[in-house]
């Protein structure tokens, strides 16, 4: 237990260093500060100074945690900071649900469950730090916690989650299916819309497709037209839009 508590300052400090440095030196992050929920809280004009201030506080707390001896006040500061993160995420979720959180990088994803879990984990680590004594940390635990925190960081998804999913999709090929025997309707519509027949009749059409059926290697498509109905014959095979035919049929002929 003592080793667990003594490991927490290093975990928190590593994370706060990343967050603080990203806020102070990330050029894109400053540029996008106006789109984060922070801009909603402080006003767009003060978003960048507020971002810098938070970054400075994070670096100060990180430094206090890393410099021995570990003081209970360090843990209190870290816990307060984590509480602040949670409150801010809650605010962002309610007040600006589509804004990005502006926590660790310039990504544009809004605060989600993972962001809350990460802040919650940091809070728990901060609380543990309050009671930490002068014991050696457990390196394995530090690595494990950092890995969990990194896994909860949506900012890093494009480095590991997206490639992993891509690889899985490439291996499993979930969407690969044998070609269906039937020509999809959209394929016929694609040919139809590029055909001179459709272009000449389009202004007279009053409805979308009323009826469609396949017969003798042709697909027949019936639209409503100002005269009654427009019927198109689209070949099921082939790519030539010139082969599409059209006729306008009066309502009296159909009755």
């Amino acid at each position: 237990m003592t080793g667990i508590a003594a490991s927490q300052p290093y975990v928190i400090a590593l994370f706060l260093l990343w967050a603080g440095l990203a806020k102070l030196f990330g050029r894109r992050m400053r540029a996008q500060a106006g789109q984060s929920a922070l801009a909603r809280l402080t006003g767009p004009a003060r978003a960048v100074p507020a971002l810098r201030l938070v970054g400075l506080v994070e670096l100060a707390v990180a430094a206090a945690l890393l410099v021995p001896p570990v003081h209970p006040l360090d843990g209190v500061a870290a816990a307060l900071l984590a509480t602040g993160f949670l409150a801010y995420l809650g605010y962002a979720r309610v007040a600006a649900p589509t804004s990005s959180c502006g926590c660790l990088s310039a990504h544009s994803r809004p605060a989600d469950r993972r962001a809350f879990a990460r802040a919650g984990l940091l809070l728990a680590a901060g609380l543990l730090t309050i009671g930490a004594g002068p014991y050696p940390p457990l390196p394995g635990l530090v690595v494990l916690e950092v890995v969990v925190l990194l896994a909860l960081s949506a900012e890093l998804d494009r480095y590991w989650l997206t490639p992993a999913r891509r690889l899985l999709v490439r291996l499993r090929r979930p969407l690969a299916v044998p070609p269906p025997r039937q020509v999809p309707l959209e394929t016929s519509l694609h040919l139809l819309r590029r055909s001179p027949a459709y272009c000449s009749a389009a202004a007279r059409l009053t409805s979308d497709i009323r009826d469609t059926w396949d017969e003798d290697g042709m697909r027949f498509l019936v639209y409503g037209a100002s005269e009654g109905a427009a019927v198109f014959a689209v070949p099921l095979a082939g790519e030539d839009p010139g082969a599409v035919r059209v006729a306008l049929v009066g309502e009296t002929a159909l009755a």
Partner: protein, 198 residues
């Protein structure tokens, strides 16, 4: 139905049915494209011949629709009305709760005589977060939308190429635009067409 289809078929293939305004072969000629005049609506004014909303109730051939601006529309579906729900469908496919866009002619009694009705049609853009089974997990401005591939109906359009039922070219993290049918009151969509820029 059979005889009507036969009549239409013979009309378009040149079997000699009474055809209006058309050479039965090929196109109608350029003058047809200018045959109708532009609709007479003030810019910015709501189009009286258009309605959108969700179906509250269905009575015989009449749909009572509550618009998103809280205005009720009464829409009459007739024989000549086209209905779309992931493709052309019959009137029996319309359900209370379905979202709808309708175009037609506003009658003097306030009823919209529909020419076309599109049920649950959605057009969303986003990037593919993941592909599992026959489902694309789409990130649409931070919200996850589950887009289901419907065998035989869903097609992909890659760049300018013709639609194909082979969707295996889609990749995780790429941007797509999806035209499909929303499953009411869920974050799920059945895919009609996926448009992919490459």
């Amino acid at each position: 139905m059979r005889s009507r289809r036969d009549l239409l078929k013979s009309a378009v293939l040149g079997g000699g049915a009474s055809v209006v305004a058309a050479t039965a072969l090929g196109s109608l000629g350029p003058e047809a494209a200018f045959a109708t005049t532009a609709p007479d609506i003030e810019p910015g004014a709501p189009d009286p011949n258009f309605a959108e909303g969700r179906i509250r109730s269905i009575k015989e051939n009449t749909l009572l629709v509550l618009g998103s601006n809280m205005v009720f529309h009464t829409i009459r579906v007739v024989d000549g009305t086209s209905l779309w729900k992931l493709g052309p469908v019959g009137f029996d496919q319309a359900q209370p709760g379905d979202g709808l866009y309708a175009r037609g002619v506003l009658m003097p009694d306030g009823v919209l005589a529909a020419e076309s009705v599109w049920l649950n049609i959605v057009n969303i853009k986003g990037h593919i977060k993941n592909i599992t089974g026959r489902t694309l997990h789409l990130d649409h401005s931070g919200h996850e939308v589950l887009c289901h591939v419907v065998p035989g109906k869903s097609v992909a359009v890659h760049s300018e190429s013709p639609p194909t039922t082979d969707l295996s070219m889609l990749k995780v993290s790429q941007h797509v635009q999806i035209l499909g049918a929303w499953r009411p009151d869920t974050n799920e969509v059945d895919i009609a067409t996926v448009f992919s820029p490459h």
